[in-house]
Structures are given as structure tokens and as C-alpha cells.
Amino acid sequence: MKTDAVPGDYVEVSLIKRDYEGILLESPDAERGIVLLKLDSGYNIGFIRKDVSGIKILRKAEEIKKEIDVKRNKEKPNIAMIITGGTIAARLNPKKGGVDWLTSPEDLFKFYPELFELVNVVKVEVPFMKASEDMDFKDWQKLAKVSKKLLNDSNIKGLIITHGTDFLHYTSAALSFFLKDLNKPVVLTYSQRSIDRASSDANLNLQCSALAAISDIAEVMLVGHATINDDYCYAMPGTKVRKMHTSRRDAFKIVNGNPIAKIYPDRIDILSNHNLRDNKKSVSCDTDFLESVALVKIYPGQDPDILDYYLKKKYKGIVLEMSGLGHAPTKRARKGWTKKLKEVQGKGMIVCAAAQTINGRLDPLVYSNGRELLDTGIIYLEDMLAETAFVKLGWVLAKTTKRDEVRKMMLTNVAGELNNRLGV
């Protein structure tokens, strides 16, 4: 069956018993053997491609290009946006069936008119379009460079970066370390519900992000729903935040820290100390990153020989997500780690410890097991999130691999990643 019809065309699909009229749609990737048709009622149905005897074009697809006038107002502050992909920038094209990306101010305006009531979005940069799980340090580096350029533009008051949620907290940590002498707000935000639905969480997240972006909080922060209500967001410190739910709109939670601010669509309540806006400052980038670092979770009965693999692959650093106050199987375990840990560190590998309990501070001194592991030379990273620790270790190892220097830098607070006072 050959046809010139393309998705979007109004067609007649012929089968043995009956013909159907409707808009031809793009079949999903996994369903190439199916012809998908949007009936006049709006419902989509499918036919097995080999059952279709013909597809006749009744009307070619019309490209309706409505010119949208994005309202700008000199009295409103100007912000810039960086779009990187993820749910917040993806919209389904129901006419064709595929996904379209929002990449221009016009697209954004169409979907998020509320955002434009607060600010002028004067620049939109799209360095790449990716799901966040497909990103790595090279993307963080690109983002930092684009951010620097925008932040040093005197016409722009603040920056919003939209991002997929899966690895968003790695990016927020990376930008926290990569951007030096931060002068203005850098706001990362997301959506958990697709933006083509009226209930999308993106609207509130963006409205609150806009307020954060024009505030005096010169920090890398993640702004998103504080609860499952659509009433306010938290501005969360970039190094102290983690995705804690697969699907809820308040997926991101602060770990071992406090929100910087509580943001309603019409006001900001400042909740904790932060770096203040300083338009005289100029941002610089410090983006070197050593790729050969790993993040490994300890589990019961785990074979320590796994470390040989990393050694062989010339890894320079490992963050171990350890149990409880900072433990791994010791000499008393059937497969103890103590000896192997000593061995790999002796060969130059840096081993850091973070908590797999997520919340709380490590303390290897409480139990003899902890002391035994501490003696091997592991750097215990206090209350630092494992994900943040991973990012920081790659960043530090790009500067030095000397054990003492690495230890000192890892335990020095650079971007709020360490908190020496944990509250309730």
C-alpha cells in the first residue's frame, strides 16, 4: 500500500469492509505496523497497516501559522531563559501525533502566558534538547557557559533554566560549583505533569521561578512545588536538593537544609540567608571536570572486588553510598571491605563516603565498625548528598588528585553543600 499522505492530512482510509475518514497521525515508534487515524469526533483509532488497501488524501494538512505577538512592557523586568528539554518543554502535537519542542519566546508565551505577565522574556537559549537522564558533565559545562554569558548581560535581571526532572539535582549541584562570583539569580525549574494538560504544575513553577529570577537571591536554586497543592513553591539550594518522588509535583525535597524562600505567584517570603544580588560582579566559569569518578551504593553481601574494576578502568575517585552512620561490611562480614578499601586507596584512588539514608550526617566514630573503615582513609563527607558529592568530587579531582588537598577541598563548604548545623 503506497500513499503520498503525510501526518496531518485529512484522508480516507480504505479497508475491506469499510472506509474511514479522518486526520492521518504519526504512529508511535513502537507501532509502525499500525495506521493511526483521528476521527471527526476527535477519537483516535488504529488499523493494521497490511489490512489497509488504500489511503486517499482528501485535504492536505494546513499549516496554520498564527503570528503571536509577545507582549513586552518596558516597566517589567527582563529575564533570560535556557531551555534544555524535558517535560516542561515538550508538547504533543495532536494533529500529527509526534512531539514538538517549545524553543522560542512565542512558543513559551502560548503555553505560559502567566509567566509573561510578570516579566519580559527577552532571550531564549537552546544549547541542546535532551531528557535529563541523557545528560552528563559536558552538558553541565555547556549550560554554565551559556549561563555566564546571559548573567553578564546587563539587560537581564535573572535566569530561568527549564530542565527534565530525573537528573535535575545533579545539574543544580554542578552549576553551583561551576559558576563563580554569582551576581544574579539562577533558577532551575521543571514540570512533572505534561504541559499540554490544564493541570500542569509547570505554570506555578514558572510563575514562582520568575519571581525568584528577579529577586535579590544570587544563588543557583531549584524552584518547584513545595506540596501537592498549587499554592506556593520553595526556592531550594542547588546543592541540597534531591528528586524524592517518581511522579508527584513536589518531587524535589531539601535534604539536610532549609528553603531559601517560600514563593507564591505574587510574593516572596525569604526564609534563610543567601548570597545577595550584585550587578557589579561579573560571573566566571570553573567547569573543569574529571570524568573518572563513580557513585556506588553499598548493599548487603556486596563483593568488594567490584573496586578492582574501577581501579582497572583508572577511576580516580569513588563516592560510596554507605549504610547508617557510614558503614560497609567490615572484617567480621563474610565479604569484608576493609582490606580492599585500604588497598585501592593505597593505589591512589580517592574514596569518599555519603549516606544512603539520604537524611542526616555521617559519623564513623560511634561504632567500632565505623572506626575500622575510617582507618582505611575514607573521606567522610558529613551531611553532603551523595549526588552532590559525586559532582563535587569530579570537579575537585580536575584541580588536584593529591589526597590531602582533595580531602581539604571536599570538606570545605564551596556552595552550601555542607551544613554544620542540622535542625529538626
Binding site: 504533543l92 502535537n93 490544564a198
Partner: protein, 486 residues
């Protein structure tokens, strides 16, 4: 009312019938229970206008988004993240799909084997997601009526909406218990030519629905009717549960449309109207267009397999008339049959019959005794309800005991009474068993005292003495034992 020549004015009517199915929710595993108690927590949300295809904001959607309200959703321990729009939908409820297929097949429809679950934009707040999930499952059926055949255009399976609890200017409160209950929507062709025919078709479809696994009672079925006369766009009239007022509503709507045409009113568009109690209607909103439909991207295409369709055909529910015949054969009287159908307990009856094959005993114990016992023991309607459902839950055990002859069928009610007064099952049973042994002994004594009588004479004696404490069949068993001994 003036006599109307429906043919001359070009009356076209079509029905849309929405029926809740008797199953858990359509896209999650929450029970379909309507709650009367105070909510456990509330969630506040806002909805936003969304651009549909090619950037057009759908007319009905736009109309409602303009209102910019805050929605409060009342939630319970029976509410899950899917209903709160905090988690993607689970796969479609297969049980509900099967019932939808049964209904479609009984309406002579063709099943759509490859179909896509759609999101229908609804932003009056009645769906936390901002859309209603809906899927086309069948098409091109028909139903006979005295006034001629009426086509069935489509059968859809969809989620019910949340219940509105209250509404103020900027704040609407909904309860989430009803959201997601599976619903079948049947859309007839505009073949209906008179209001009488509309009523007949509605009742006929209602009959077919009730032979399938559907929910019963107020609010479980809703009918809309589309009405247009030649030259006037159609009006969809919502909000009546009683097909009996169809005739009145249609006639009044015809009058209204005639007035529109006579007065030369311009800019007439299809619209949704609500039925008032007196049969007149009020304007609700413009009729939504197809632009508000887009696919549920969180779920794959729904493929209804050949084997699933065949299996549904094999297990098609019988029409009530057939069921009645079958039950009569089993020895139930008309009264019990009616009760069984009315209380929607045929499936339960059948499954209990497999425990104890005594149709009348099972029917009475299922339909009559629990209500009798509970209304005597319970203080208020809530307590009566509780006791009654508690007794229901013991039926299988009770019948098991009858089968094992631990108690007689005549003692079922007494066992229920002790259960209602708080006894444990074992205690209730023990008490009756003692009784039963006791009665048996007393009967034997009675029989021994009057030797040489016929079976019937003994029966008369026993029934006079022990009426209500022993069933006829049990008495006969004892008599036969005695005569046999003799």
C-alpha cells in the same frame, strides 16, 4: 402544549447515555465507593487554559478557563495518587473493559480492535488532571424500537468526574470519590424522530445495561439528549435521570428553537443546556469541539485482542427475562426473583448457591433475613446498614454449616440474630447446635409418645410444637429416621 408535527419541523434527536460500571476505578485500583464521611484531607489546585491543536484554545475549554478559579479536592483514605493527578494512570481496568464489551455486543456494535485512550479537555475542575480519559471501544450498532430501528454510533468507556460539593465565586469544592469510576457512554444516531421514541429507546437501553455489571441507584445512570429542528444547531440537554420527562423536555426545547428561528436570531451555535425540574432548560456552555481531544500519552495503544472479544461473546450476560426464566426453573418464586434483580445480587446468589444448593433458602438468607434481623437489632439506619453488611459477610460460613448439618436451614435466622448481638460465629453456631440436638431429642420423645401415625400426621404435630425452630425438611428427616427405626 400545541400539537407538533415532528416530521414537518425536521426533529432530530439522539441520546447519550452514561452508565457507571460495577468495578473498581478505571485507571487505578481504588474502590468505587461514594463517601459520606468527612474528608481526610484536601488538595488545592488551579487549572490553566491549554492550546490544543495548532494553537487554538478550544471554545468550551476557553470559556471555562476564563473563570480562573481555585479548586479544592476532598480526598480520603480511598484516594490514590492517580486520582490526585500525582501519578500516571495504571493500565485500563480489564473488568470494566469486559463489561463495556458486553454492553457493546448487546447493542449489536462492532468492537474497535485498535484504539487510543484519549484525554478530553475538561477544565471546570471536575477532573484533577484537567481532562477526562475516554476511549472508543465500539461503533456501528443498532437497537430496535416500536417506532423503528435506531443506530448506535459509538460506545465509549470513560472515567466519571469528581462530585461538586460546593461553589463560591472563586472557589469550587469537589469530592474525589466519584472521580475515575468506570462509565460507559452510549451515543445513538440522530435517528430518533419523536419524543416518545426517545423515551422508549432510553428505557430499552436501560434494560440492556442492567443485565450487565453496572452500578445501581440514583446517580449511576445519566442521560443527555441532543435535539435539533431543521435550520437550528443542536442543543445537548444534560442532567435528567428520569426518561419519563424526556417528552416534556424535548417539546419545550422544540418550542425554544422555533422561537429562535422565528425571531430571526443570529449567530446560533451548538450549545449545552441543563434540564430544569419543570422540563424547561437553561444555557450551560458552548458545545466543545473535537479540538479538545488529544491522546493519553502515558498509556500505549489499547489493543482488544480477538480472544478477549470472543471470550466476551461467549460470556455475554443474559437479558433479565432469560435470567428470570432460569431462576424460576431453579424453584425461586416471582417475588424472590424480582428482589434478586432489584438488589443486583444475582452474581452473589449464584456463587452462594454453589455452597448450598437450596435456592429458596439461599435467596431468603441473602435478601430477607439480614434486613429483618438488622432492622430489629440496629438503633439507626447507619447501624442497621452495618449489621446487615456484617451478616452478609457470614453467609458463606452459615451455608457451609447448614451443608455440614451443624445447623438446620430453619436456624439460619437465629444464628444471624446471635451474630447481630455480637456473638462470634463459633459461639452462634454452638448455641444453635445444642438447640438443634435438644429439639431433635424432644421431637423423638414426642414421636415415641404417639406410635403408629402417618408421616403427615407426625409433621403436623411437630410443626404445631416447634414452628420456626425447625424447617419442614429437617422435621421430615427426623420423622423418616423414626419411622425407619420403627
Amino acid at each position: 402544549m400545541v400539537y407538533l408535527d415532528y416530521e414537518k419541523i425536521g426533529l432530530k434527536c439522539g441520546l447519550e447515555i452514561h452508565q457507571q460500571l460495577d468495578s473498581h476505578k478505571l485507571f487505578c485500583n481504588c474502590p468505587s465507593v461514594l463517601r459520606k464521611d468527612e474528608p481526610d484531607f484536601c488538595v488545592k489546585r488551579k487549572l490553566h487554559a491549554v492550546a490544543g491543536e495548532s494553537g487554538q484554545v478550544d471554545v468550551a475549554a476557553e470559556y471555562q478557563a476564563g473563570l480562573g478559579k481555585e479548586f479544592v479536592y476532598q480526598a480520603y483514605d480511598t484516594t490514590c495518587l492517580v486520582e490526585l493527578d500525582e501519578s500516571p494512570p495504571r493500565e485500563i481496568n480489564e473488568e470494566a473493559l469486559r463489561t463495556a464489551l458486553h454492553i457493546s455486543l448487546l447493542l449489536n456494535c462492532k468492537i474497535v480492535p485498535i484504539t487510543q485512550i484519549m484525554r478530553k479537555t475538561v477544565i471546570d475542575g471536575s477532573n484533577t488532571s484537567g481532562f477526562q480519559r475516554s476511549v472508543l471501544v465500539a461503533r456501528d450498532g443498532w437497537i430496535e424500537s416500536e417506532h423503528g430501528r435506531v443506530g448506535i454510533n459509538y460506545v465509549y468507556l470513560e472515567e466519571d468526574a469528581a462530585r461538586k460539593v460546593s461553589e463560591e465565586d472563586w472557589n469550587v469544592v469537589y469530592r474525589l470519590d466519584r472521580l475515575g469510576i468506570p462509565l460507559v457512554e452510549i451515543v445513538t444516531a440522530p435517528d430518533v424522530k419523536t419524543p416518545e421514541q426517545a423515551k422508549e429507546i432510553a428505557l430499552h437501553i436501560g434494560d440492556i445495561l442492567r443485565s450487565c455489571r453496572v452500578r445501581r441507584g440514583i446517580g449511576t445512570i445519566r442521560q443527555d439528549i441532543n435535539v435539533s429542528i431543521a435550520g437550528h444547531p443542536r442543543a445537548e440537554i444534560k442532567g435528567f435521570q428520569d426518561p419519563k420527562i424526556f417528552i416534556d423536555v424535548v417539546n419545550k426545547e422544540i418550542e425554544r428553537q422555533k422561537e429562535d428561528l422565528d425571531s430571526g436570531k443570529e449567530g446560533l451555535v451548538p450549545e449545552v443546556r441543563g434540564a430544569n425540574l419543570d422540563g424547561s432548560t437553561k444555557y450551560l456552555r458552548p458545545l466543545p469541539g473535537s479540538a479538545r481531544m488529544y491522546p493519553e500519552t502515558d498509556l500505549p495503544l489499547l489493543k482488544i485482542s480477538r480472544s478477549f472479544i470472543d471470550d466476551s461473546k461467549k460470556n455475554l450476560p443474559k437479558h433479565n427475562k432469560e435470567i428470570e426464566k432460569e431462576l424460576e426453573k431453579q424453584g425461586l418464586n416471582v417475588e424472590m426473583i424480582k428482589l434478586l434483580i432489584k438488589q443486583n445480587k444475582i452474581e452473589e446468589f449464584k456463587s452462594l448457591l454453589s455452597v448450598l444448593n437450596q435456592p429458596m433458602v439461599v435467596a431468603k438468607s441473602l435478601l430477607v433475613y439480614p434486613r429483618e434481623v438488622s432492622s430489629r437489632s440496629g438503633k439507626d439506619s447507619k447501624e442497621i446498614e452495618e449489621i446487615s453488611s456484617k451478616l452478609d459477610s457470614f453467609l458463606e460460613q452459615i451455608f457451609g454449616a447448614v451443608k455440614k448439618k451443624q445447623i438446620s436451614s430453619g436456624q439460619i435466622k437465629e444464628v444471624m440474630e446471635s451474630l447481630a448481638s455480637g456473638s462470634k460465629f463459633s459461639e452462634a453456631l454452638k448455641m444453635r447446635r445444642n438447640d438443634s440436638g435438644d429439639i431433635q431429642e424432644r421431637i423423638m420423645k414426642l414421636l415415641k409418645g404417639k406410635p403408629g401415625l402417618s408421616e403427615n400426621a407426625y409433621m403436623g404435630l411437630i410443626m404445631k410444637e416447634f414452628k420456626g425452630k425447625i424447617s419442614g425438611s429437617d422435621a421430615m428427616e427426623i420423622i423418616r429416621k423414626f419411622i425407619g427405626k420403627r
